[in-house]
Symmetry: C2
Amino acid sequence: MKINTLVIVGVGLIGGSIALAARRRGVAARVVGVDRQPDALERALRDGLLDGAYSHLAAAAGLADLLVFCTPVDNIAAQVIESAASCRPGTLLTDAGSTKAAIVREVRGRLPAGVEFVGSHPLAGSEKHGPAHASAHLLEGRLVVVTPEPDTTDNTLSQIRDFWTALGARVQVMDADEHDRALALTSHLPHLLSSALAGILPPELYDLTATGFRDTTRLAAGQPALWSAIFRANQTHLLASLDRLDEQLRRFRDALLQGDQAALEALLQQGKQVRDDLSHR
Amino acid sequence: MKINTLVIVGVGLIGGSIALAARRRGVAARVVGVDRQPDALERALRDGLLDGAYSHLAAAAGLADLLVFCTPVDNIAAQVIESAASCRPGTLLTDAGSTKAAIVREVRGRLPAGVEFVGSHPLAGSEKHGPAHASAHLLEGRLVVVTPEPDTTDNTLSQIRDFWTALGARVQVMDADEHDRALALTSHLPHLLSSALAGILPPELYDLTATGFRDTTRLAAGQPALWSAIFRANQTHLLASLDRLDEQLRRFRDALLQGDQAALEALLQQGKQVRDDLSHR
């Protein structure tokens, strides 16, 4: 696909990083941003993330060859459906949302002929937010999960795959529900835990924290509105992941209650094994 | 206190870092290491962490003005008591253990006249271990909690305080049990959580982890034998901290089950507030 006009909807950390990487790598002839916040657009234009900026989605959608929605997960489906009405036939739409099943389900069967949506999730991010933290390198070497539907053509899937690859990312194709089940454990549960742990620390103990507490709670600095929407969109799988964690915590609790050194060591070794495996990849 | 001979018992990451900082800063005329592992001593001598090395504790204890025990928490009390028998009157002993109450309780009343022990805990560390990772800067600006007993004299406390300050650390004096209660929440619980989370990740999901999972589980790479001993030594307070976390996780679970966006956001905001406060300190 030759992309003349790439439209980024939501010019925050992820949207801004995609825009910047696309400009630097010549992935599109022009990169246009849409955002409801004039400050974000102004900043993105000033920092050279964008060639052009629009405050209204429909106006930009009519120009697009490819639209990428980098907005909160609870807004994406409605924005996709709304903007598709203004798209020319042949326009492709994708997103960068952290959950996929609810979005693809909501969009399914709602787009005009010739306009297609395929869900994507770049596994890249930060507890920081806003276009000021955008980086052309954010996606380099990162995995992007792409979740085609049964009626997605090979040609469409190839175009989406090529887009992410051109930005320096790797692509893995998965079923949307399978994605959500996996990410509940690898991303949403760590966020929930990090936030729960941070939330129970009383101010009088702040001085008694060291790097361990800070690393374990880094994710808790993320934006509550974005993450509560992600949690709700992935409610079932997140609850199932929380059940698995509860079981493991119960094993720790039992071993502690019994003062069972061997059991504690085995549990800690189980965690260390996974962590060491991850470090060596 | 003029320290002629500083003896470091257990020349790993912490012991090695204390030794190196003491040599660089001229805190003692000579720094001597004791370790059961000849490799660790050899490495520490070669890297200039030590002036001298001993494989047997009693031999080194007789030379010491100050001994610092940097061994696993379940070994410290016995080693303190054993070595005190070889110490000259006026020798001071302290440690770097992550728990304090069990150690000071076990040592209490067991030392010869003129030989004193005061518990210490430098809040510095890493998931790495061994003298190869020692750094003269590990303690710089870090907090060391010192836990005197009712019969600890002001002079003795001053000497311990001056020692840690001379290494670049800050000192806070606390009751040993109060220390353990606080560290259960700020250090031991984060370690347990990190390990529990890592432990439930199946290998087929490794590819779907990003920096969030990795940061949240960094602590899980620590040594299981060291941490199971810490958990056991701080059993009661760690269980109480786990109860507090369980309550917070239950609040998240209830909000999720009810799809209660406002409640989820409030819980996430509570964690963010603490995390942001910590970042701005």
